[in-house]
Symmetry: C2
Subunit: 396 residues, 2 copies
């Protein structure tokens, strides 16, 4: 297995296009289309927010059909909190694509990302779909990965090469997301495309596992979005036997999926709005994994912790404070904390490490905070970033 | 009843002092002492964070004694996460005051606020206590209210005049707190002093009710602190009969307590680190008060909502998003939202109010966000502020 970072190529049987249709006023690309030449098996994971966007509602309805021919996406407007009218718009996007591909509307999936509460300009969207269909190309992956962005500073894409049944197979991944990012999905869209053949139920389980270990472990600002969607299409164009548990190469496929989603999830944190540091928060020794998760998320989402990381001072007091109020069981004089492998706290009080040694670590572009509660075997990891003045400027 | 804002005077039988002892390096006042000439009944409410500071541990142990002669406070260092040594320091602060006042150590209460994880410079603290004792004065309230501050831009103080048993009585209040502010207490210290006589159990219940309706309803950044403490001393120097439920003036006293704590709580939000707007988040129509509380706090603590309030655009989409992920039961197409009394959302979608009209409200120094879930009778209110670049600058 071979993960190529910052690289995109569409697997066999996929074509794509990305254009500026006119939804964004700044001339940036704002619509994308991915088409599989044949029916692909499809898996999807979506936001758990009960307030969710029209395209998410459409995807949820289409997913049980089990087949996908296309994904149509717009950026700039989220089509969330738009009521029945917005739902009709999202359906119309799917229907317009389905009509031209001569496939059932249930085989077309829809995503939107951008501002909440605004209706889509449907004449622009319809014209955009016509243009996208005309521009579809096997080399269109790059344009797609650009057209799905909003406040991102760069596209996030990767390509995994592996062999299934002895044949070369690709898993292509792309994602967008930089704010409203919190575990359990984010304002985040991600599309994974493979020319492997995969049994549909296995595809869904495999995707869910990969998402739990990647996109659900990142946090930029603790805000869970209305539009989060991850879609995985497997069209079998590589001519391999359908993958499922029991197939000798199934673990290899899962590993590829996990590598791609983990890479993309980390890329989202690296590109967190205004972020300049990537921080891995590891909690161990909790009474349960749930407790560890609570503690890790409280730290990763603490505004005071995140702003302290905008400077270079190793302000571990704020971290212990967040662990304290996380809801996890905590006994103060058992707490320990390391930055990378250097002790900062032992038994709830400052370790005798010189502050300059810690400061060297927390001034870095990337570091680990390892917290041990010394109460059990529960553990959890969350990836997060710092909160800088730039974050505020972006979100005003 | 008469609430005088920004005013402080110590009730009869109290003396106070505030000085620069040398804990803070910038020359600002950093130690305070309040003394009651006679034993006062005492009530206290403290942080619920299991990681809490040594002075909070000391106060919790002294509270069952039911009597207070003094409160000694330092700012600059929180004496939190300092282990046994820190606990010994906090005890030594109480003991030094008790020795000089010739009272039991259990009658002396201690507070600290400032950076977590650092030990107090005890020789400076001891010398400070000597100076404070020498400077005690009935006019010392102003100096006390200044010496307890950290990142606050101004002291928070008020004075309530009322009549109990026909005699004039004072309730004096002061508070500090500007960051790490979240409902269920905050990095917040508040002292309430009265010359009324109050039965101890009634005093504690009265304080808890007042705190629940005031300090527990504010949020600056969602971080619950290690040091939150509210202490209420009633020394009876006004010569009134002990207040308790059944006394005809008991409701009047509760109202005075509530007026003082509400005023101080709002002052803390107004002085929120970097804050330029005061926002009241009201949720009604929830299935339960608990659900309403969840929704209101999710909105008040959403980083994206708070940063949107740094600008002037009425970004209600982010508010609905936060209500959605709050954990409260939500049916999207029943949601309504008003800014002040102007509708922004009806049945989950944009109301036909011109955006400029909403913008006029959200550009103001103070406004209300009223969210109706239309599912029941549960309601809750939280007071909060916006998050500006200045917040980040302060906390780096």
């Amino acid at each position: 297995m071979n993960l190529l970072k910052k690289t995109i190529a569409l697997p066999r049987g996929f074509r794509g296009a990305g254009i500026h249709a006119g939804i964004k006023k700044d001339g940036e690309k704002d619509m994308a289309l991915i088409v599989s030449d044949t029916d692909a098996a499809v898996a999807g994971v979506f936001t758990t927010n009960p307030v969710h966007a029209a395209p998410v509602k459409v995807c949820r309805r289409h997913l049980p059909g089990g087949r996908a021919r296309a994904i149509v996406v717009n950026s700039g407007i989220a089509n969330a909190c738009t009521g029945r009218g917005g739902l009709a718009d999202a359906r119309a996007m799917a229907a317009a694509v389905a009509r031209r591909l001569k496939c059932p509307v249930e085989s077309v999936f829809v995503s939107s990302t951008g501002i909440i509460g605004k209706r889509l300009p449907m004449s622009i969207v319809r014209a955009g779909i016509d243009t996208l269909l005309a521009r579809l190309s096997p080399a269109g992956g790059r344009a797609v990965s650009e057209a799905i962005l909003t406040t991102d500073t760069r596209p996030k894409r990767c390509l995994v090469r592996l062999r299934i049944d002895g044949r070369p197979v690709l898993v292509a991944g792309m994602a967008k997301g930089a704010g409203m990012i919190e575990p359990n999905m984010a304002t985040m869209l991600s599309y994974l495309l493979t020319d492997a053949a995969v049994q549909p139920a296995a595809l869904q389980r495999g995707l869910q596992q990969a998402v739990d270990a990647s996109f659900n472990r990142i946090s930029v600002d603790g805000d869970r979005s209305t539009n989060d969607s991850v879609l995985l299409l497997a069209n079998g164009a590589a001519g391999t036997r359908p993958l499922k548990p029991g197939h000798p190469d199934w673990p290899k496929f899962l590993a590829a999926l996990r590598a791609a989603t983990e890479y993309l999830a980390r890329e989202i944190v690296y590109d967190g709005e205004g972020a300049t540091r990537f921080v891995t928060v590891q909690v161990r020794g909790a009474r349960s994994d749930t407790d560890a998760d609570r503690a890790a998320r409280a730290v990763a989402n603490s505004l005071l912790v995140k702003t302290s990381w905008a400077g270079t001072y190793p302000n571990w007091g704020r971290i212990l404070d967040a662990v304290g109020y996380s809801g996890a069981r905590v006994v103060e004089d058992r707490l320990s904390l390391h930055y990378n492998d250097v002790p900062a706290v032992r038994r709830g009080i400052a370790a005798p490490t010189p502050i300059r040694r810690l400061q060297k670590i927390t001034a870095g572009r990337e570091f680990n905070v390892a917290i041990d509660l010394h109460l059990g075997r529960g553990q959890a990891t969350v990836y997060t970033c710092n909160c800088t003045e730039e974050y505020v400027r972006i979100n005003v």
